[in-house]
Amino acid sequence: SQPRTASHPDSDAGSVMSPAGCSHVNGFKVDNWKQNLRVIYQCFVWSGSVETRKRKAKSCVCHLCGAHLNRLHSCLHCVFFGCFSKKHIHDHAKNKRHNLAIDLLYGGIYCFVCQDYIYDKDMEQIAKEEQRKAWKLQEFCKTSGIGEKYSMWEPTKRELELLRHNPKRRKITANCTIGLRGLINLGNTCFMNCIVQALTHTPLLRDFFLSDRHKCEMQSSSCLVCEMSQLFQEFYSGHRSPHIPFRLLHLVWTHARHLAGYEQQDAHEFLIAALDVLHRHCKGDDNGKKANNPNHCSCIIDQIFTGGLQSDVTCQVCHGVSTTIDPFWDISLDLPGSSTPFWPLSPGSDGSVVNGDGHPSGATTLTDCLRRFTRPEHLGSSAKIKCSGCHSYQESTKQLTMKRLPIVACFHLKRFEHSAKLRRKITTYVSFPLELDMTPFMASSKESRMNGQYQQPVDSLNNENKYSLFAVVNHQGTLESGHYTTFIRQHKDQWFKCDDAIITKASIKDVLDSEGSTHKRTQ
């Protein structure tokens, strides 16, 4: 890069600014400068604690005009705050010959000799550390579970090398169809194809595999995770011809024997089996944490799909509650029209219809199904539970709620009924929304309702429990002979229908009008 000269009466002739920093910081980098700089960041830029915030609130005003806006800067050489927009800090720099100032909003270091912000490696390091420290002290960090402030990806030396040696680039525009690819049906394998389409369009899973995060520890070539990785490469290769997933099918037959054979299988069963095998084959990726908790390791499958379902059993006599939390990968919902009664939603009504929200006028919604799923259920006199409080068998009610939500939630509408008397498909239409708020079904919501706490109105600013629809798997036909297809979402609002080898553009209306046996949402 070319050297830039700045005209300042006291600067060295021909001072140089390189992209990494400037020589004018050398005057500052003396004695205990690192600690001094840290204190400035902690007190005036990224104040994490209550005391530093109070101090920042009081003292961070321009010493000349009292304004707290106008891109306030602090002199690095003395205690002076000045507006940048009104040039008050510039006047100070000129009068006192103090060359450096720091932007109190973003922490950038400005050099008045170079007349630009400079990027000194040592100072940037300190800034990054102080920002990270302050971030961790913030309350919302603790409640939202975001432990680390997002920092942009920067390539390593090796990655820069690879990029230089491979100059071909693929640009992702708003309308490009990369990631879309048909799948050949190998003989009633649409049950597998439909789920594969949903998985290859799960954003976090896609990002995991495209950034090569799987480290295989399996000896043989029968690792399903490796095959999944290959599959993503195929889908994002840009090839438009349908992919033939024979290797995937073979691995599925090997690891999930109950799904082998050319008969029509159940897509939901395939989803669970696939997640299970992938989870087991992720041995190398979790740093051995699986041993500690077999139910929730840190493999990518658990990170994305595993939620916690809370089951509260309340004794009707002593009102003691026994709570268990079980992991889940999907939420299977009963539908109206099955042999078990759907309505009413509250216990003890003996089949009479409940007015208000529970009244079945109009189409059943996904929310109705979820409300039914999380309703208190009286277990009846033939199913007494041993109560540890009463030390005897008592009647009880059971209620399910969500303790911990997964990042991707899979809802399975139980359309296939297999009871002792009949096997049939329930075709009742269930409407589902593009956006879903799971807050009413959370264990925490139930607790605040029970404690009589004021139920906060659905906070539009709090997105913690909100989900966005991105895949819908549909089954057409009967129990004996049917066909699976999937709608998937590409970019923000483009939908496509995946019917084995054929991919067609779809409208949001097509998606929402469909039957929706299984659908997936992401947070």
């Binding site: 890069s1 915030r53 109070k54 609130a57």
Partner: protein, 107 residues
Amino acid sequence: MFNRFQFLFQTNTSREKQMRAAINQKLIEMGERERLKELLRAKLIECGWRDQLKALCKEVIKEKGIENVTVEDLVAGVTPKGRALVPDSVKKELLQRIRAFLAQHST
């Protein structure tokens, strides 16, 4: 008559300044300013504003040349359009949030 009006007007703007400073202080003390900044950042990324600004910055850089462009060039070249491009919905949401905060913490 005319002087009196002027006097009244000036008093109100200085009170407005005082109020702004007091609100700002409260926001910083309670850590709400940081939370609002994060909320705003997320909203502006979501609605594509940040990508639009990136494109505007690239134009300025092309104009001035990458070796010579300064942060000031970018600020001057991008600020007016950048402010105009912020969607009303985002402004509304932030204002709502600030109002709610003030209502909760009124002294």
